[in-house]
């Protein structure tokens, strides 16, 4: 369950961001998780719910953007997206490649700060 360590780092980083932004409550946190990052999304959500209690993230929504693996295919001369993570070869021409261009992300992308109650309701109204 290394997801617990990762969720703790996320909360730490977000709290730092909130402090330097002058405080506030967090409405949502967006993470970018590569297919090769070895992070299990359910375990991460479970861990996030544990570690965010009594922090400005207590009611934050966790958004996870999954990034597929992209490799460089020398034969095709371009980047290609892999359908899975079990064969590091070009899906078009079959050439093996260890030149990974995406898929290892473990990134905190953005933090959405909530406004005051009225603003939050208004914002919700706009989104829905």
């Amino acid at each position: 369950m290394h997801e617990l360590s990762i969720a703790s780092r996320v909360v730490e980083l977000v709290v730092e961001q909130v402090c330097s932004a002058g405080g506030g409550r967090v409405a949502a946190v967006t993470l970018k998780i590569g297919a090769l990052s070895c992070v299990h999304e359910d375990a991460l959500r479970f861990s996030f719910n544990l570690v965010r209690e009594e922090t400005p993230l207590a009611n934050a929504e966790l958004r996870v953007v999954t990034v597929p693996v992209v490799i460089w295919c020398a034969a095709c001369g371009r980047e290609v997206t892999l359908p899975g993570i079990q064969k590091f070869a070009c899906p078009e021409c079959g050439t093996p490649s260890g030149d990974i261009r995406a898929g290892r992300e473990l990134d905190l992308e953005s933090v959405e700060l909530a406004g005051d109650a009225a603003a939050v309701e208004a914002a919700k109204g706009r989104i829905i």
């Binding site: 290394h2 090769l36 993570i85 590091f88 990974i100 700060l113 005051d116 009225a118």
Partner: protein, 233 residues
């Protein structure tokens, strides 16, 4: 009235670990010590393999040391210390992987520059250690013949982030009906071009080839030759 707003952060979640690991790697390289991070499932034979490697290096007059991560016991450290090398145990108390600061703390007081090789035996786990850079120059993934040939396909992340692989316990290959060709194909599928050593801690098979590889990597490190492409994106 406070408006909701979005802070674009775009930072690595493990930034702190990555930064410390980078600093440690620079320190190790400057000191001329090759650091190897060993990852595998529990029971693959990391300790047995490492004990042999330490003993052989010492017999050749090559100073080396090890730190070993384990959930609760110091058994592995005691086993490794029988080789004669300095060894320290990192007890993680339930944490399923080592992090850079734990390694750094356990190196305190050691004269790193007096070493040529430093080995880090990670906690036995096929998933969790992969995301944590420990400042190593070489990451070794181990797979034993008793685990089945499809481990690399089941845990591609671990093999894909490794620089080199070892198949361990090959003395048991026949008894386990280990399909060597299939294992090699699977490793190649998830990490094209990775070198694989076939070893036995019991018979000593493959150990000299492994140590020759380490010597080559260390020479390149001391000469300042850039290392082969690594896992970082």
């Amino acid at each position: 009235m406070i408006e909701p707003r979005i802070l674009e952060v775009r930072t690595k979640i493990l930034k702190k670990n990555d930064e410390l690991a980078r600093e440690m790697r620079e320190r190790f390289v400057r000191a001329g010590v090759l650091v190897v991070n060993m990852v595998s499932s529990p029971g693959t034979g990391k300790t047995a393999f490492l004990k042999q490697a330490l003993a052989r290096l010492l017999a050749r007059g090559e100073p080396c040391a090890a730190v070993v991560g384990d959930l609760e016991t110091d058994n592995d450290a005691r086993r490794l210390a029988e080789s004669g090398a300095p060894v320290r145990q990192i007890m993680t108390h339930g944490l399923c992987h080592l992090e850079a600061d734990m390694v750094e703390k356990h190196l305190e007081g050691w004269d790193i520059a007096s070493l040529r090789y430093l080995f880090i035996e990670n906690v036995g786990n096929l998933v969790c250690p992969t995301s944590w850079d420990l400042g190593e120059s070489v990451r070794l993934a181990l797979l034993s013949v008793t685990e089945g040939e499809d481990k690399p396909l089941k845990y591609p992340g671990l093999f894909n982030t490794a620089d080199v692989a070892a198949i361990t316990k090959i003395d048991l290959a026949a008894a386990c009906e280990f399909d060597r060709a299939k294992a090699l194909v699977n490793i190649e599928a998830v990490r094209p071009g990775m070198r694989v050593f076939e070893t036995s801690a019991k018979t000593g098979a493959g150990l000299d080839a492994w140590l020759a590889y380490l010597a080559e990597r260390r020479r390149a490190l001391v000469d300042g030759t850039p290392p082969p492409p690594r896992r970082s994106v």
